[in-house]
Each structure stands twice: as C-alpha cells, then as structure tokens.
C-alpha cells in the first residue's frame, strides 16, 4: 500500500484537517508538524494496526525528507551568507576560495545541488576568517585584503594561499588580528 492509497481512508481532509500525507510530503521545510501529530492521535483511536503502522512509517520517511530539506536549506543559507561577506570579490574568486569550479558553486547557490559536508567545513572555516577580519577591517575592503600580499603568508595573498591549500595559515593570521596587541 502506498501513502497515496492510504490517504482517503484516513479522511483527514474530510475532517477539515490538512491532509497529513501531503503535509509530510511537502518540500517546504516551514510547514508545521502539528497536523501530523493531530492525525496520529486520530489514528491511535483506530483499531486497524496495519494502517497505523503504514502511516507512521510514511510519516517518519517524510520527516526525514523534511530534515534533509532543512539541512540542505541551512547549508545553502550558510554558503550565501559567506558569499555576501566576500564583498567586491568576483564569482570566480569566490569559487576559488570555496574550492569548487564556478558552475558547481552556481548549482549550490541556486539550490540545484546540495552543498556537501566537506564544502560546508570549508565554508565554516572561511566564515571564521571573515568574522575575524571584519573586526579590524571594513567588509567593503575584503576583496582588497584578499588580493594583498602578506609577509606572514610568504608574501602570498590570502586568495592565493587559500587556493593553494593553506587555509590554516590564513586562519592563524586572522585570529592574530583579534589578539590584544603586544609590542615588538
């Protein structure tokens, strides 16, 4: 039995409630869970255990889908926030920082592909770099800084250093920006 087969038999719509299978199947992560809970409480009165089990399984599956959708959305938002912080940078430069080709990055931004955890890890690290940088520099100067050669990076720019796999050095550099000044 499929979920769509089961729908009329539970009669959520007949009772004036949202049809819970439709709700759980929605890709909109903003849909509240209350209708599902109501429907389950109605099912608990039913004597048909099979129908209840099917309904619960379908509900769990739909909840998992919801969770995945929410997670994907959260990742897309995190990526978008990071990109917004890269003021003055070209899309190609942003892709270089993220470590993905521009067309792939575009798919992430458009929500056509889920941002993988490996990329998310890099997004979080870059986010910390920007947060620390922006404690000492206006965000509008971010691109200038990314292109400036820096002695402690071996006279590389942060952009080049990151693209060559030296994100850790850039993280250390920007953490140093936030430390209380000591005299040299």
């Amino acid at each position: 039995m499929t979920v769509s087969d089961a729908k009329p038999r539970y009669g959520g719509a007949r009772r004036g409630l949202p049809d819970w299978a439709d709700v759980a199947g929605s890709t909109n992560p903003g849909v509240p869970l209350l209708p599902l809970e109501l429907e389950l409480s109605l099912l608990s009165d039913s004597t048909d255990a099979d129908r209840a089990e099917i309904a619960v399984e379908a509900g769990v599956r739909k909840l998992e889908n919801l969770l995945r959708s929410a997670q994907a959305l959260d990742r897309m938002v995190s990526l978008s926030v990071l990109l917004a912080g890269l003021q003055g940078c070209s899309f190609d430069e942003a892709a270089l920082l993220i470590g993905r080709e521009p067309p792939i990055l575009e798919k992430f931004v458009r929500g056509e592909a889920t941002v993988p955890e490996r990329v998310m890890n890099r997004v979080r690290r870059l986010d910390e770099v920007l947060r620390n940088l922006h404690k000492v520099l206006e965000p509008t100067a971010t691109a200038k800084w990314l292109r400036t050669s820096i002695p402690s990076l071996g006279n590389e720019s942060p952009l080049n250093a990151i693209s060559k796999g030296n994100l850790r050095k850039v993280e250390e550099l920007t953490r140093g920006y936030c430390a209380p000044v000591v005299h040299s």
């Binding site: 922006h134 404690k135 000492v136 520099l137 206006e138 509008t140 100067a141 200038k144 800084w145 400036t148 050669s149 820096i150 002695p151 140093g176 920006y177 936030c178 209380p180 000044v181 000591v182 005299h183 040299s184």
Partner: protein, 188 residues
C-alpha cells in the same frame, strides 16, 4: 639579576600618565585590560602585562608592524585607538634613551632588537623585565621598535589592574594615518 639597575636615575617615581592602545572593533577586552601574554618584548606568559604607547601614532605603528598588509588599507581599518589614564603607583624603569640605558648595563640596541627569531629578539628584554620586577618596578618605559627612528616610546606595565597601577578610565581618540615609512618592518 642579569643587569645592574642600581642607579636611581634609571627609575621614575609614581606618576599619572596618558597612554595609548589599539583595540579591535567589538573586542572582548577593555582598553585597560592587561593579559598574560606569551609573546611580546617584555612578556613570556609568566606575568600580567599591558602594552601601551605614549602617542597614538606609536600605538598604531606597533599594530601595523605586526600587520603591514593594512598599511595601504588604513582608511578602511576598524581598529580604534584608546587613550588610557593610568596611575602608576610603583616606580618604573626608564630606558627610553641611549643615555638612560647607559646607566644600566643593558645594551640600548637590544631594546629595539629586530632578529627574525622571537626567542632571540626578546631574550634580553625579557630578562630586563624580570630584573625590573625583582627591583620593585611596575613597568618599563622604552623606545618603540616599530618606529624606524626610535622616537616614539612605549610604557609596558606589569601586574594586574589595581596592583602596581590603576586605570582611571579611557576614551577613544582619533586614529591617525601613518606613512609606510613610519613603520619599521621585521628583519629590516
């Protein structure tokens, strides 16, 4: 004791003084907060210290010496300069000039040493700080190694706030713009 600090002319009596410090935007410490620094000329992690400069330019030069990438981005900087009013209750060691340093056995050029290796660069100055401590000194007034001409001076205070020095408050002052030539680079 590594250095001879017996000459009383090396010491300044208790005083109230205005000093300067660079503080980042939204910093999680106050402009008059000392900390247990593990780096820096007069600190090795064993004592509380606060590094202050006599002038705002000197304070900024010290910060830009560490971060020269911002020399050409000064208009867009978000760091602030605070003027801190300090009551120095203990006497302090004054080696701001060659003449003053000559009163001790401390070689003046080592106050502005520039060796690439930090452990070598600060070796004598950290020993001097230990000696200052042992002589009841609350801090050291010295030339700024960040100033190519050593005209700007710093006041490094030891101990926690309320100990051998008291903060009388702080205000933000305008941040100057300094030229690239006004900052001495490492190993130059």
């Amino acid at each position: 004791m590594t250095y001879n600090l017996e000459d009383q002319d090396l010491w300044r009596e208790a005083e109230t003084i205005l000093l300067h410090r660079v503080v980042q935007d939204d910093a999680d410490y106050d402009p008059d907060d000392p900390f247990q620094s593990v780096s820096g000329r007069f600190s090795n992690g064993t004592r509380w210290v606060i590094y202050l400069a006599e002038e705002a330019e000197g304070a900024l030069a010290e910060w830009l010496r560490w971060h020269p990438e911002f020399l050409d981005l000064q208009d867009e900087l978000r760091v602030h300069i605070f003027q801190v009013r300090v009551d120095v209750k203990a006497r302090s060691l004054d080696v701001r000039t060659g003449e003053q340093a000559a009163l001790s056995s401390f070689p003046f050029h080592r106050l502005v040493s520039n060796d690439e290796d930090e452990s070598i660069r600060y070796q004598e100055c950290r020993a001097l700080a230990d000696d200052c401590d042992a002589n009841g000194g609350g801090g050291i007034r010295s030339p700024s190694a960040a100033d190519p001409w050593f005209l700007h001076c710093n006041f490094t205070l030891f101990g926690e706030k309320g100990g051998s020095w008291i903060s009388r408050g702080f205000i933000e002052v305008p941040r100057p713009t300094i030229s690239r030539d006004s900052v001495r680079h490492f190993s130059s």
